[in-house]
Every structure is written in structure tokens, then in C-alpha cells.
Subunit: 522 residues, 2 copies
């Protein structure tokens, strides 16, 4: 997916909604974490990205290390952290007769503190790479960094002091931040240690992404995306239960639709609430599903009443894109996300998401006792479902096809199952066929893998679902994940849709869902 | 001169003196300066360092420039400034979906914004090179830089934004700081425009170096050196007359001598008052001369009484270094500054400075009516003067010689004249011979050239003195100086004692003296 720009879109701002959202701004929970150990990175082809980590000393030994020009040291905080760094530095030798010139590199993964960022050749902005180069004029000094970082490893490199003095770092503390309250985490017990570990990391991933809003990734893009929110909210209901944060984010999306009433794919919160000029067919529809899940989890009718028109509008817009056959028009003018998968045709999965969301909308109309709208939506569901079977189901192959090239993809089958286009028994058969298929276009993100696992669970393929979780999220654990990653393809572990895996996010909201899947379906 | 380190020196702190100094902390005068024009640098072998400047647009045009990844622009503030930058930056295009990564390079001279600092190979710390690399997470933003910079040119380089947006700099303002009060500048009139311009730049140089203390250079080293203070104070008495700043700095030096009572060559003010572990024979002696001049300018007897013991002690220490012939011992154990001149033997000029300072000490003893001390000092002056003529005067050459190699240098002759070793008539002849001499070891700093010019003036060589000012300081003006430079050798304009002229200071205290020389001797 290249970058989408809509410079002429208009924002229709709902100030009351924005105010409701502002009033729900969360208080962040803060905790101090000290450096655990000092490490070196070393080439290791057996490790992800080819980099291993070796302990060289305890964290307490940091203060005794003396660093001069060209010296560096890597601090390991022993877990993924999101927060603010405070670094105490003192001079060693003569009084400092020149500033300290210091470079800091923050890494979620060893590769980030092992390979120079100057090698970066990806398509996303290099400004996401977490590094700072600072001058310190007065020593000793307590350096308080105002930017928030997402990292486990911190590399400190002394670019220069002067021939007369060196420096020691006498303390390194990170004040972590999250709007998740650990105390409120609903307990869960697993006999299976592997699942217990996967769930622990799921919760940690969610916790690190819960900030002022549900962020997609605290390293990058640090903002509220609908596709991520849809899954984070589901994980949240069964874990930290900060339901007001979901409410806040729903009101934020509803506060700034465009002139057609479509909600943006993502929002910026600072300096003010600004919708991105990126619109995605599937993401806008997922607003409605997110509202549905929120109402189901909370019974908050007031919010439902407020946001129903926005939710309904997304469905209407989804339907407006159908052709005379009631099939989503697939041309150059639209954007639908589905997965980071360059080969993927988006038509069939998008059609399925429309159906998936129609079901949620009908349930909401029913809750609101909006009979006329409910009937209209039910009629649409039936009509579009029939059209889907008629035009997108390939009886011969036993798969749904997508686009003019009649592409068979995992995404299409998975979403059609979630949309309930076929009967349960047929869905189960479809998924069984899919699991054996080697030809279908595959999946690259935990986001898409989540939908597969949920499709397996609801099709009574519990063993297959658990095996998949252990294969996929368990694979990340075996590859050293402290939090779950934005991208993971077990067949191609260096995969990045951005052209360089160093820019990938290694703590990503849409990867946090095992906690939801396990707690709901086990 | 290599770096001097005395890690075992002890500081004998006088808290009362420190308190007096603290109470005299100046209030800084602040003024806002906006960008004057936008420029490009271009190779020009006719210009200093080979770089010329070409105007490309007005300062007001800045806000219309749109800069994306890899774009840069150079702002010219049209004069040398010392202060704090405030930069307004706004996004252009889509909402910023990645941080702005921005590099700022501050230059006193075009070369600093023309050649990359990564080429720097000098001996002084590269941390003095004025650049910052920052990330801006939220746009628009008013960037307020907390470090003080010394510059005329500011290069802004956009390292990255994102494919979806660029930036414009809508405002660039520098809040200048100085403890000199422009309103108090004693007026002076010159019929000669060249001298008027030289004086204007002298005053500007002094003003930019007058901060919390008399700094040597606001770019580097930004601190209080005795050799600079000695001249700055003299320039100050005839111009801005902030005499309390001299008093403050004298008390600061006297507050932190070492265990032998010697004052340091320079002081650090932050985080607390700390003397450097560098001690210079000549600089310590100049404390006494600085106190003398301060008393002469102010008549402040209370300060004289307080600081006399420190002043006397410097002279005693100077005398302690004499051998049995009453000549300063020249060996590997000492450091005397005199000039940035690698070939220079320091013995004779140091001997002369001892005599020069002895005269000042005698005057102070007289003012204090310390008869016994006065007589003792007078006896020393006579004894050492006789020894100087006997051992360091080479009748055959008609020059003072220095060191075991009997070196003839400009520094030796100049300081011997200032010390009054010979009669006035003989001094005049000596200087006339010197001006024609091609063999003597020459001078590299305005500091040394200042002493030559003062020697010419007091030897009634007024025309030669003025010609020298026009040749030397006028040469800097013709070479584009906005403020006078730390180093200037008209025969070798790229000269740097640090191995790279990019680290030279282009606004340096010891170069500000034409205002003193012209006002005193014209």
C-alpha cells in the first residue's frame, strides 16, 4: 500500500463528541524501572535478524563504567518499556572544559542497537527510528528526556567529551506510562505453560499500547487506528477493562468524520484532534463493530444512542460502494487494508467485512428498537449475502474468489467465515481445506492471523486454533518477543512491508489478541 | 600547548569571596533579532576560508519556503549574535504522520554552515561545534532551544518528515543576551571611518563576550580566563563600564586558589564555581594587574583591601620561580601562555610579565600604604630588572633573547617594552628595529598584537600603532568580521592552533581591545 493523501477532504467537527472524549482523558499509571544488566550484541545467525545478546555485567555495575570519546555501552532493562528516560551523568577527570556530546539509541529489538540507523532504506520516515544526539553543557547533570520511547535496550555512545575528562552514567531509570491498571487485570489460569506465557505477553503488549488513546504501536505510529482499536477493545474487555478508554476513542472517531460522514482510518490527538486524510473501506466499517462490542461489554445505552448515526452511516457508505450485482467495486479509487500483503486482492475480504459489520449493525438497531432501520439492514444482509455466494463463491475450488483474477486468498476465506456467509458446517470444511492449501495468497500480520484463529474457534476447530496460536504467537516467543510484533511471517522472519525490518514495530496493538481468544474460547 | 591536567591540586575555597561574587551576578539585557535574509554559500577563493555568501531572498520570504526530506536553507541574521533561538515550524500537506527530524547548524562564519562538521579533525573537542539534531513529535510547534548559541548563520536541514508532509519555518527569532548595557556605552567620535568601524566591532565583540562573567568566547570556551579578563576589563572601563562584572570576576578568581595560593588560569561557573586545573605563569600574575586596573578605574578601596593578599601572593609565586640569577626558570615543569605560537620560547616574555606586574603591585601597595611590602617589591623590581638586562639583553643584536637557544621573538620585545626594562628612547628604538625584523618569531593572536600596539603607543610610535591597528584589525574587517576573531595571522589566514580553523572562535574577548587602545591613546 502506498501512501494515501486526500488534501481536499473536509472535516465535519462535532464539538460535543470531542468534549465527551476530552473528559475521558485517562490518568497514566507510572512506575520506575532501573537498568537490569549491561549487554553486548553479537552476530548470531540462529537469532531473529541475526543478532544475539550477551550479558557483560550487572545493571549496578553501570555507575563504575567510565566512557570517553568513541566509547559505548548497551543497557538492557530486561523487558519492553514505554516511558521516559532519566539519566544521571557525571564527569570523571578534570572539570569538563567542553560539552558532552552524547548519542542515545533506543531499541525494542537487539538489531536496533546493533546496526547503524544510517543504513536504513525503508519507505517510512526514518524519523521513527529512536535516537537522540544531545549536547550537555553542565556536568554533573540529570538528563530528563521529554520524548517518550518504546524500548528494552538503550545504547549510550559518547561522541566526544574532551581530552581532559570522561563520563560515568550513575543512574538510568525509565518512568513507564500506561493507562492500563495492572491491579484490575482479570486473573486467568492456564495449565499449559506455553499458553500462559503467550497470554502474559499479550497483556503486556496491550498494556504498553494503552496510553492517552489505544495506540497501534508505542514506537510507531503512536496513534489511534480503527483496525487496531477494534481488536484492542476486545482484548481490553477481558483483561484490564478500561472501558472508558474505548468510549473515549469511539467518540473521537465520531467527532471528526469527513463531509460524507465517513470516519477516518486513524486519528492524531496532538496538538488537537485531527483525523488523518487516509480512509480505508474496512477500517471505517469496523467503527460499527467496535461500537457493537463496546455496547455488548458495557450496556452503555447513552453512548450507543449518541454514536448510532455514525455507526449506521459507515454501513450505508459500505453499501454505496456495491455494484449492480451487490458486489464491492474493485478499482483504482479505493483503499481497503485487510493485511500487509502486496499480492492480496481486497474485494472479497472487504465484501465479507461489510457483511460481518451488517450483522453487528442489525444487533445495535435491535437494541435501540429502531425497527425500520433494523429491517432495512436485515434486507441488505440477505441480499448481499446471496450475491456474495452467487458471484464470489467458486463451487469447483471450494473457495471464495476475489477480483477480476478470481484470486484465492486466506484473507477472503477467513473473513467470509467470520461474516457467516456459509453455514457453520460448510465454514468448518472451508477452513479445513484452507489449512491444507499451499496455493492461496497468505498472511503477514498478527492482525490477519487473529482473524483466522477466531474463524477456527467459531467453526469448532478448537485444536487447530490453539495449534495456530502456539505456532504463530508461540513462534514470536521462541524468537525472543517481550511484546508481540506488528509483522511476523514464520516463513520470512525479516519481512517488512516498509522495506526494512528495523522500522517494524515490535510492540503492536493488533498482536495482543491471544488474551482475548484464549479467555473467550477456552 | 597540549592539555594540562593537575588532578591532585587542592582548592582552598573562600566562601565570603564567593558570596560577594554571587551577589554581583549580572542581569542580562535581552533583545529580539529576526532573520534578515536567506543566503547560499558558494566557493570563493577570494574570501576567508574560501567561502562566500550570496543573498537568495529576504528574511520575510522564509515562511513561504516549503522544505521536505533532504532540503535545507541558510538563515542570515546579518550580525553576530549570542542568544537563544526560537523557531516556529508548521506542517504543509497531510497531517504529520511521523516526527520531523531536523538538523540545525549554527555558524559564526560561512565556513561553519558550508563544510560538514564530520570533516573536523582538530584537537579540541568536536562537541564545541554548534549543531543540534532534534525530533519534533507534534506540529505545528514553537521550538525553544535551551542552549545558548553564538552565530550569524543558521542552516536548517530537514533530515526527514514523511512522504505525506513537508514543513515551513514561519518565524525565526533570536533573543540575544549580554550583561553590557548598550545605553551606557560612552560615546566616541572618529573622523577616520575605518577606525570608527574597527571601534564599533570592538565594542560589539566585548558586548557579546559580556555574559554572566567576562567570557573568552561565547562559542568556545564560554568561560572566564584571566588573560582575556585582563584586556576585557580595560576595554570595559572606557566603553560599557560594567565595573561590577570585573569586581565579580576578581572575587571569583580569589575565591578558589589552590593550596599554594595560586589563582587558576580559568574558572567554570556552572554547576558551581570550579577552578580549572590549568595554571599558567603569566595568567596568574595578570590577576594582580587586573586588580590594579580595577582600582584605578573605580577607586574601590574595599575590594582592594580584600583582594590584596591574593594579588601579592601571585607576585610572590612569580618571584619564587626565579633561579639564582633572578631569571625565570625555563624547563618542562611550567606553563606560560603568552601567545598561540608553537615555536615561541616563553622565558623572556614571562620574565617581562613578572616585571610588568611588579610595577602594578608596587602601586597597589602604595595605595594601601603598605610601606614594608612596597619597599620589598621595589627592591625585587630593581634586582630583577638588572638581572633581565644582564642575562636576557643581547647588546649585539639589540634584542632581548629567550631560553637556552637565545630565541628572538616579537613577544619578548613587546613585553619587555611594556615592562619598562629599558628607557623610553631605547624602547622606541627597539620597537623600530623589531618592525623591520623578518627573523624574529612572530605573533598569532590579537591578544599578542594588542600588546604590541600598546607598546607602540607608550613608546610614542602613534602612527605605527594606528597603522598596525588598521593593518591587523582592519584586515579582519576587510575579511568580513562581524566581531573580532580569536586567531588572525594575515600571512596564514587559515591558522588554527587546534588543527582546524572551524573550531576557532570568531568572537573572542582578547580581540576587543581597539576600543581601549583608541580611546586611551588617540
Amino acid at each position: 500500500m502506498e501512501f494515501q493523501q486526500n488534501l481536499d477532504h473536509e472535516i465535519v467537527r462535532n464539538e460535543r463528541f470531542e468534549k465527551v472524549a476530552d473528559q475521558l482523558k485517562p490518568t497514566l499509571h507510572r512506575e520506575n524501572v532501573e537498568v537490569a544488566r549491561l549487554v553486548e550484541v553479537e552476530k548470531d545467525e540462529g537469532k531473529i535478524h541475526g543478532w544475539g545478546v550477551r550479558e557483560i555485567d550487572s545493571g549496578a555495575a553501570l555507575e563504575d563504567k567510565v566512557l570517553g570519546k568513541g566509547d559505548s555501552i548497551i543497557l538492557d532493562f530486561n523487558d519492553h518499556l514505554v516511558g521516559y528516560l532519566k539519566l544521571d551523568v557525571k564527569p570523571v577527570g578534570s572539570p569538563p572544559d567542553a560539552p558532552l556530546h552524547l548519542k542515545l539509541t533506543f531499541g525494542e529489538m537487539p538489531v536496533e542497537v546493533a546496526e547503524p540507523f544510517s543504513n536504513y532504506k525503508g519507505r517510512l520516515s526514518s524519523s521513527w527510528l529512536q535516537e537522540e544526539i544531545i549536547h550537555v553543557d553542565v556536568l554533573p547533570q540529570v538528563l530528563e528526556f521529554s520524548r517518550r520511547y518504546s524500548f528494552r535496550y538503550l545504547k549510550l555512545e559518547v561522541l566526544d567529551t574532551s581530552p581532559k575528562y570522561k563520563v560515568s552514567f550513575t543512574k538510568a531509570v525509565v518512568e513507564t506510562v500506561t493507562s492500563a491498571d495492572k491491579e484490575k487485570l482479570v486473573p486467568a489460569e492456564y495449565k499449559d505453560n506455553e499458553l500462559a506465557e503467550i497470554e502474559r505477553i499479550s497483556n503486556k503488549t496491550l498494556l504498553d499500547c494503552m496510553q492517552d488513546v489505544f495506540e497501534d504501536g508505542p514506537k510507531r505510529d503512536r496513534r489511534l487506528w480503527l483496525g487496531d482499536l477494534h481488536l484492542q477493545a476486545q482484548a481490553n474487555y477481558v483483561s484490564f477493562q478500561n472501558n472508558d478508554l474505548v468510549k473515549r476513542n469511539l467518540y473521537q472517531f465520531a467527532a471528526v468524520p469527513n463531509q460524507h460522514g465517513q470516519v477516518s482510518a486513524n486519528l492524531f490527538i496532538a496538538p488537537t484532534l485531527i483525523p488523518d486524510d487516509t480512509f480505508l473501506y474496512d477500517y471505517s466499517l469496523l467503527f460499527t463493530s467496535t461500537l457493537h462490542d463496546y455496547y455488548e461489554a458495557t450496556g452503555d445505552k447513552e453512548t450507543l444512542v449518541d454514536l448510532w448515526p455514525t455507526a449506521l452511516r459507515q454501513v450505508e457508505l459500505g453499501i454505496e460502494r456495491l455494484d449492480e450485482n451487490n458486489i464491492v467495486i474493485d478499482d483504482e479509487t479505493w483503499w481497503s487494508f485487510i493485511d500487509w500483503q502486496g499480492d492480496l486482492n481486497k474485494q472479497a475480504p472487504s465484501q465479507a467485512i461489510l457483511l460481518f459489520v451488517l450483522r453487528k449493525a442489525i444487533a445495535l438497531a435491535e437494541a435501540l428498537e429502531k425497527k425500520a432501520e433494523q429491517e432495512k439492514l436485515a434486507e441488505a444482509l440477505e441480499r448481499i449475502t446471496q450475491a456474495t455466494v452467487e458471484h464470489l463463491w467458486d463451487e469447483e475450488q471450494g473457495f471464495f474468489i476475489s477480483g477480476s483474477d478470481r484470486q484465492v486468498s486466506w484473507a477472503s476465506q477467513v473473513w467470509m467465515v467470520l461474516a457467516g456467509v456459509l453455514e457453520k458446517e460448510d465454514n468448518q470444511q472451508l477452513l479445513k481445506r484452507l489449512l491444507k492449501d499451499k496455493e492461496a495468497v497468505g498472511m503477514n500480520t498478527p492482525y490477519m492471523h487473529h482473524h483466522l484463529v477466531e474463524a477456527l474457534f467459531i467453526s469448532d476447530l478448537k485444536k487447530e486454533a490453539l495449534d495456530w496460536i502456539k505456532m504463530y504467537w508461540g513462534g514470536m516467543v521462541r524468537d525472543g518477543a517481550d511484546t508481540f510484533w506488528e509483522l511476523y511471517n514464520p516463513e520470512d522472519k525479516e519481512f517488512s512491508p516498509y522495506g526494512d525490518h528495523i522500522i517494524n514495530s515490535y510492540c503492536h496493538a493488533w498482536s495482543c489478541t491471544p488474551t482475548y481468544l484464549l479467555r473467550k474460547y477456552l
